[in-house]
């Protein structure tokens, strides 16, 4: 999956290391999804199908969250689908970066999620982008499902997952994914504007929708700021500068 690189080369690859640590971190909080899902009234197989087939953390949490909050199946499906729209954008980005052909395109689509996209788009070298994307995508898929099962089975035994701070782990993970992109004034401004838009939208629209409001805000800013954008605001194709590679290790 990694372009025929030898294991030795893989171990030396920064993208591979980043992807591995991301896989472990993200996979581990699959426990919180499994446990929360069972606590929300889903059975073991419903929980597993969400992790195996839907496979997008935010959408999965949205789906079970709506049901747990008394929402209907339709509402849960809608929140989940809206939250998953960003994966379409990620698909565009990954397609532009890796240009997978044939069957690989259908497999890569399934593992196109926040973490695999962030890993790939943080790298400049096409080989590193490929290694980062596939390692994170497949690594997270495997571990996320294993730990979803663990969480679902252990859900009752471990009591309240909040007691273990698993919701705090999710917050930290999203911030850690955002952090490396905040290079310069404009990314900070965009992040701040979108955070504010989210907070303002939460009380007025259904769960999941505030994230889309933020996406629209970010899209509008991006569209109109293009002509005067400063360098470095294209984290997607213009990558981690060297100093980030040297200065900071894994998980960036």
């Amino acid at each position: 999956m990694s372009g025929g690189s030898t294991p030795m080369k893989l171990r030396e690859s920064p993208a591979f290391k980043i992807a591995l640590s991301l896989s472990i971190a993200t996979g581990l909080y699959g426990v919180s999804f499994g446990a929360l899902s069972v606590a929300s009234g889903f059975d073991f197989w419903q929980t597993m199908v969400l992790s195996l087939l839907l496979f997008s953390g935010g959408s999965q949490f949205a789906f079970i969250g709506v049901v747990a909050g008394g929402g209907s199946g339709v509402a849960a499906m809608t929140a989940s689908a809206l939250l998953g729209l960003r994966n379409g954008i990620y698909g565009m980005q990954i397609n532009a970066m890796l240009r997978p052909g044939g069957w690989k395109r259908y497999v890569s689509a399934h593992v196109t999620i926040d973490e695999s996209t962030a890993t790939a788009s943080g790298q400049s070298d096409p080989g590193e982008q490929t290694r980062g994307f596939w390692t994170a995508g497949i690594g997270i898929f495997i571990l996320w499902n294993i730990f979803t099962a663990v969480g679902a089975l252990a859900g009752d035994a471990m009591g309240d997952p909040k007691q273990w701070g698993l919701d705090g782990a999710a917050v930290a993970a999203f911030l850690a994914l955002l952090w490396p992109r905040l290079k310069g004034r404009q990314p900070w401004a965009i992040a701040a504007a979108c955070a504010l838009a989210t907070v303002l939208a939460v009380p007025f629209v259904p769960s999941g929708v505030p994230i889309l409001v933020a996406a629209v805000v970010a899209g509008v800013i991006g569209w109109f700021s293009h002509s005067r954008m400063d360098e470095g605001l294209e984290p997607d194709l213009d990558p981690y500068a060297e100093k980030r590679r040297h200065g900071s290790g894994g998980g960036k």
């Binding site: 640590s21 849960a76 689908a81 954008i89 962030a118 930290a172 769960s207 294209e234």
Partner: protein
């Protein structure tokens, strides 16, 4: 049983959404403005996801142990901690604050 139906529809939509991204015309992909928008959207979505996970509770806004997780994660990131350490910091902060009786 009805819930199964919506689960499967949600799964199908999730996959199709991902796949659609791979089939938009190449012309779009080479448009710097589109890519720039995709970049700003990524920042916006991640910022929004961070905030939603930190302070949203359904349609309410609450300040609970998750804010402690956010602060702990930010400190870890400022100290250039690796991803896993950042995540563990967040979980530990939230768990500890709850142990102390907050949130």
């Amino acid at each position: 049983m009805n819930l199964w139906l919506w689960i499967l529809i949600a799964c199908a939509l999730a996959y199709l959404t991902k796949l659609v991204g791979y089939f938009v015309p190449a012309r779009l992909l080479d448009n710097p403005r589109i890519m720039h928008v995709a970049g700003t959207m990524t920042i916006g979505l991640l910022a929004s996801l961070t905030v939603v996970n930190a302070v949203a509770s359904g349609q309410g806004l609450v300040l609970d142990a998750r804010v402690g997780a956010l602060v702990a994660a930010a400190v870890a990131l400022l100290l250039r901690a690796p991803f896993l350490v950042v995540v563990i910091s967040g979980a530990a902060a939230a768990a500890l604050l709850r142990l102390l009786g907050w949130g």
